[in-house]
C-alpha cells in the first residue's frame, strides 16, 4: 500500500532531520568524554563546566552583540527598502532591488573573502566586531526585505493617506499607522536576521579578528576531544533557547495578525 510507504518515508525523514538534535541533550548529560553508546551515567558536570569558561562567555556575549546589532540594522534598512519598493516608482527600480537582493544567492565564502580584502588590503583597517556586524547586516538585509515586502504590500495605501488627510504628518503617520500594522513583519524580520547572524560561521571566521563569535569558538573547541561534551551542553541550551524564542515570536505574530484582522497566512510554527 502506497500510504504505508509514505508513512515510513515521513517517519524516516523526521528521524533523519531531528535525531542528531535529540542526541545533543543525551550526550550533554552523559558522564563520559567519549561520544558513544552505551551511556555511562548521568551528570550535570558539563553544564557547570560551561559556567567557568571565561572565553566562552566572551564568545556568547560577542555573538549576541553582533546578532542584535545586525538584526536591528538589517531590519531598519529592510523597512526603508521595502517601503520604497512598494510605495514609490523610481527609475531603474527593478535593477536596484535586484542588486539589493543579490547577497541572498551570493556564496558566503565570496562575500567573506571580498570583504576581507576590502577591509584589510584596501582600507587597511583592523578586523573587529564591527566588520562582522557590517557583513552580517549585508547578508541579512535581503531576507528582511523579502519578509517586509510582504507586510508592506498587504497594507492598504489609503490607510496612510487617510491618516495624512486627518492632519498627521508623514512621520507621525508612519509611527501611528504603518509601524503598528507591519509590526508582525518587523518581528519576523528581526528574529530571522538575529538567527542568521547568530549561527553564521564562514564570514565570522574570516572577519572576526581577536574576538571569536560563538560558532567560531565552538569550531575551535572541537579540536580538543575532551571539550566535546561541553559543546553538547552548550548546544542543548541553544536548542532550548531557540524553541523559546520562536514560541514567543509566533505568539506575538498571531496576536498581531488577529488584531489587524487579516487571515493567518503562514508563519514559523
Amino acid at each position: 500500500m502506497s500510504g504505508g510507504w509514505l508513512r515510513i518515508y515521513a517517519i524516516a525523514y523526521l528521524v533523519f532531520l531531528y535525531a542528531p538534535i535529540f542526541l545533543l541533550p543525551v550526550f550533554a548529560f552523559n558522564d563520559s568524554t567519549i561520544i558513544a553508546f552505551p551511556l555511562d551515567g548521568f551528570t550535570t558536570r558539563w553544564f557547570s563546566d560551561l559556567t567557568t569558561v571565561g572565553a566562552l562567555h566572551d564568545a556568547v556575549w560577542n555573538s549576541l552583540v553582533i546578532a542584535v546589532t545586525s538584526a536591528v540594522l538589517a531590519t531598519t534598512l529592510g523597512i526603508c527598502a521595502a517601503r520604497a519598493s512598494t510605495r514609490y516608482r523610481f527609475p531603474a527600480k527593478a535593477g536596484i532591488m535586484g542588486l539589493i537582493m543579490l547577497p541572498l544567492v551570493l556564496p558566503e565564502i565570496i562575500v567573506a573573502v571580498s570583504l576581507l580584502v576590502v577591509i584589510v588590503q584596501v582600507l587597511g583597517l583592523p578586523l573587529a566586531q564591527w566588520s562582522v556586524i557590517a557583513a552580517h547586516t549585508l547578508i541579512c538585509t535581503p531576507f528582511c526585505i523579502a519578509i517586509l515586502n510582504a507586510s508592506f504590500s498587504n497594507l492598504d495605501a489609503s490607510l496612510e493617506e487617510a491618516a495624512i488627510d486627518l492632519g498627521e504628518t508623514r512621520w507621525s503617520t508612519f509611527r501611528l499607522i504603518t509601524f503598528p500594522l507591519v509590526m508582525p513583519g518587523i518581528i519576523s524580520s528581526l528574529l530571522i536576521s538575529f538567527t542568521i547572524s547568530l549561527d553564521e560561521f564562514i564570514i565570522a571566521f574570516f572577519l572576526t579578528g581577536a574576538q571569536p563569535t560563538l560558532p567560531v569558538y565552538v569550531w575551535g573547541l572541537l579540536r580538543f576531544p575532551g571539550q566535546i561534551p561541553v559543546v553538547m551542553a552548550l548546544g542543548t541550551i541553544l536548542v532550548l533557547a531557540s524553541i523559546l524564542l520562536l514560541t514567543i515570536a509566533e505568539y506575538y505574530r498571531r496576536r498581531g495578525v488577529a488584531r489587524a484582522g487579516q487571515s493567518d497566512s503562514g508563519g514559523f510554527l
Binding site: 493617506e161 492632519g167 499607522i177
Partner: protein, 365 residues
C-alpha cells in the same frame, strides 16, 4: 436642490495632470459652490478620481490652479487643506477601536479629553452608530465601516468632504439606503460634498450638480434634470440613462428646425432642443424610452403617432421594456412602459402604434 446661487468654494482653473505620456486631466475648469452636493461622474479611467485626489492634495498638478475658499492650494499638503476624504476602501484603521478611528483627527486639536470624547460620541450619533465607540473596527459590517469613515472625516468639520466611490462596495439595497442617508447628512451638516461615482443613477439621485467627465475633460456640468433632458453631446446622452438614437435629416434651419426622422417622420423642433450647431444634412435624433408610449387599441393618441412591430419584450415587474421596430427605421427603439392595472403585456411580433412627442426629441449634429 440649492435654490439661490451661493459663494464659490472651490475654483479649479485649467488643471492638467500627466503621467508620462498619459494625460489624466486635460484642462479642467470647475466652480463648486458652498454647501453644494457635487458629483464627478464618468466611466473608469476618465480622470474623476485623479481630479478628486488633486483637490485633496494627494496628486500634484502638472499645470493649473486649485483654490479652496479663495486660497491657492499649490504646495499645500493634504493635512493642511480644509478637506477630508472618505476612501473607496474606507481605510478604517484596523488596530484601533471605532472610537479611536473617529477621534483620530482630533489628536492634534487643543480640546480636552472630555471634549474629544463628547465630539466622538456626537459624530457616532450623527451617523447612527451611538454606543459603538469601544467596539473593534474589525467587527463592523460594510455599511457600518462606511458610517465610521464618514464620522471620522466629518469630525474635523472640513469645508469640503470628498467621497471616492463610497457606495460601490455595498450591495444594491444598502447602497440605495445609504444614498438617502448621505443626502440627509449633507443637508444637516451643510458641508460641501464632492462625490466621485461611475453610477449615473447614484449621481442623479444625490447631486445638486454633476460634472460628466470623459477622457480627462468635463463634457457637461449641470443639474441632474438639465443633464438628463438636455445632454450637450451624444456621449453624455448615452452615459446618463438610456437614449435611443435615430438617423435624421435636417430640412430647415431658419427659425424652427425641420427634421425628417427615420421611423417617426417629419418634426419641427425648437432651437433649444439642439445639442451643438446644426446644419442642413445628416444628423441623429435622441429620444428617451419613457417619452414614448405604446398605444393600446382603446387609447386615444396625444401628440404624434408612429407604427411598428414588437421586436423584444423585457418584463421588470413594475415596468416593461419594449424594443419596437418602427416602420422605416433600421434599428429598434426601446420604450419603457409602467405596468398599470388591466394593461396587457404585448407579445413579440405584435403590430402596435407608438405615441411620441416632438418636444422630447434632442437633435445631435
Amino acid at each position: 436642490m440649492t435654490a439661490s446661487p451661493r459663494r464659490t468654494l472651490i475654483e479649479a482653473r485649467d488643471v492638467v495632470k500627466t503621467y508620462g505620456d498619459f494625460t489624466a486631466l486635460e484642462g479642467i475648469d470647475l466652480d463648486i459652490r458652498e454647501g453644494e452636493f457635487f458629483s464627478l461622474l464618468g466611466p473608469s479611467g476618465c480622470g474623476k478620481t485623479t481630479l478628486l485626489r488633486t483637490i485633496a492634495g494627494f496628486e500634484d498638478m502638472s499645470a493649473g490652479t486649485v483654490k479652496i475658499d479663495g486660497k491657492d492650494m499649490a504646495g499645500v499638503p493634504p493635512n493642511r487643506r480644509p478637506t477630508n476624504m472618505v476612501f473607496q476602501s474606507y481605510a478604517i484603521f484596523p488596530h484601533l477601536s471605532v472610537g479611536e478611528n473617529v477621534g483620530f483627527g482630533l489628536r492634534r486639536s487643543s480640546m480636552s479629553k472630555a471634549e474629544k470624547a463628547k465630539a466622538v460620541e456626537e459624530a457616532l450619533a450623527m451617523v447612527g452608530l451611538k454606543g459603538y465607540g469601544n467596539r473593534s473596527a474589525q467587527a463592523l459590517s460594510g455599511g457600518q465601516r462606511q458610517r465610521v469613515a464618514l464620522a471620522r472625516a466629518l469630525i474635523l468639520k472640513p469645508k469640503v468632504l470628498l467621497l471616492d466611490e463610497p457606495l460601490s462596495a455595498l450591495d444594491k439595497k444598502l447602497r440605495e439606503q445609504m444614498q438617502v442617508e448621505l443626502i440627509k447628512l449633507q443637508r444637516t451638516v451643510g458641508i460641501t460634498f464632492i462625490l466621485v461615482t461611475h453610477d449615473q443613477e447614484e449621481a442623479l439621485v444625490m447631486s445638486d450638480r454633476i460634472a460628466v467627465m470623459f477622457d480627462g475633460r468635463i463634457a457637461q456640468m449641470d443639474d441632474p434634470e438639465t443633464l438628463y433632458k438636455h445632454p450637450k453631446t451624444r456621449d453624455v446622452a448615452e452615459f446618463i440613462g438610456v437614449m435611443n438614437f435615430l438617423p435624421a435629416t435636417v430640412t430647415a434651419t431658419d427659425g424652427r428646425i425641420g427634421v425628417d426622422v427615420a421611423g417617426l417622420g417629419a418634426a419641427s423642433l425648437d432651437p433649444g432642443q439642439c445639442a451643438g450647431t446644426i446644419s442642413a444634412g445628416d444628423c441623429s435624433v435622441g429620444v428617451r424610452p419613457e417619452t414614448m408610449s405604446i398605444l393600446f387599441p382603446d387609447d386615444t393618441p396625444r401628440g404624434r403617432v408612429a407604427e411598428g412591430v414588437v421586436d423584444e419584450v423585457v418584463y421588470y415587474g413594475d415596468m416593461t421594456y419594449y424594443d419596437i421596430h418602427l416602420d422605416g427605421a433600421d434599428t429598434p427603439v426601446r420604450i419603457s412602459m409602467r405596468n398599470l392595472m388591466g394593461r396587457p403585456v404585448l407579445d413579440i411580433r405584435t403590430r402596435t402604434r407608438v405615441a411620441w412627442d416632438e418636444r422630447s426629441l434632442v437633435l445631435f449634429p
